[in-house]
Symmetry: D2
Subunit: 135 residues, 4 copies
Amino acid sequence: MSEPTVVETSFPVRYAETDSMQIVHHSHYIVYFEEGRSAYARARGKPYSQFEKQGLFLAVTEIYTRHVQPAFYEQLITVRTWIAEIKSRSIKFEYEIIDANTKAMITTGWTKHMCIDRNGKITRIPDEWRDWATN
Amino acid sequence: MSEPTVVETSFPVRYAETDSMQIVHHSHYIVYFEEGRSAYARARGKPYSQFEKQGLFLAVTEIYTRHVQPAFYEQLITVRTWIAEIKSRSIKFEYEIIDANTKAMITTGWTKHMCIDRNGKITRIPDEWRDWATN
Amino acid sequence: MSEPTVVETSFPVRYAETDSMQIVHHSHYIVYFEEGRSAYARARGKPYSQFEKQGLFLAVTEIYTRHVQPAFYEQLITVRTWIAEIKSRSIKFEYEIIDANTKAMITTGWTKHMCIDRNGKITRIPDEWRDWATN
Amino acid sequence: MSEPTVVETSFPVRYAETDSMQIVHHSHYIVYFEEGRSAYARARGKPYSQFEKQGLFLAVTEIYTRHVQPAFYEQLITVRTWIAEIKSRSIKFEYEIIDANTKAMITTGWTKHMCIDRNGKITRIPDEWRDWATN
């Protein structure tokens, strides 16, 4: 398989995302991953909000995260997102969250999704997504 | 007006709700208020989830909170909720969040809501809610 | 009093910030306000994270929000933030959250804060903040 | 290895935890897992807040979740938590989130943690935790 297309999006850590350990609470990396997917689809010219308006949804089936080092309030972070695997009805995204300046690794992980319609029925992922994976 | 009916619900503060100041982040009191409203409707025998299934929604129009002292991880808190004012198409809830054991005041506030239908049209609040306010 | 300095910051609504009504959950506007304050301090050259490293904290004492119309997933929003009032030991910020493109009003509100030190003792706000209010 | 001790805690899904798909947003299961850990330590007589007061912290190093079916607003859910593996300086918790009434599976997963002290130095997990695993 050729090299996957990687989309990057950067933003500062919000105060509300920190916890008593004075680091980003681990649940927020899941939200950062989701922001990575949103940025990915926007960069490809098909915002996920349009995808939903067509009656398609990417339901999350599995998540894995590995926490290398903590992120802190106001740290500028970059989420790097790519499609690691795509089948007719499922898709796997991979992510790296790094410090936007030093490029130091913070968190890595992946999410798996099934494509469903408004009634929750499993459905084919639109063909264009397959093209996105490597172009 | 006679004394309003007050409904209480108690739960421990979650770790994820704390921030770098090692206290509950102020945005979570808004969620605790909402839990207070949910507990109120459940206690009255008409869960808010049923209300929504009938196609009615209480859209938030205004919120006010006053923070007397912070709450901490694992502190058992009680949300006290009552209807402060009810008109044909709007409703005002008031809240006190207190320590469940010492009864010390943590946060007080109120929220105002309009009743809307599935299309966002402003609608009459069901009559039973009016009875709830004082019975 | 002369016109206050207004700082603007813009970002898209995240999917995780929506709720079952398919609009931004009202608790997240509180977080957007906080992002507004963070952007304000960064724009003035004194990030709030530095403020905290000096051992000073702006504890939230009161919040008010008014919800004019809902915001939706992936909508680009702008938070406009300014200092509405500043006393020796307290400060009031005001906010407008608007659609970044149409400028339509979404939510307005204000927050009040006391300046405290590491021990929770009420403390003077640094003089530079007073200058910020109108310059 | 003998059967692990399982601790259960139950609570209703909050409205703020739902998203535009009208189901619990997947990031909240991570918070429910954390509530499971908190309930586990409380049930064992050593609340995690006391653990922290002793200067010990369980930093999250890895998370895995598998989503079997969605949870909905006001659904009463039960988090079942147990220690799956414990070494001198790391610990692995496993979780099942089920419907409290029907016992239908919603989400399963695990989290791995390192024990650290206030300075972030990796440290031995207190011996009592080892006893907890199977008693």
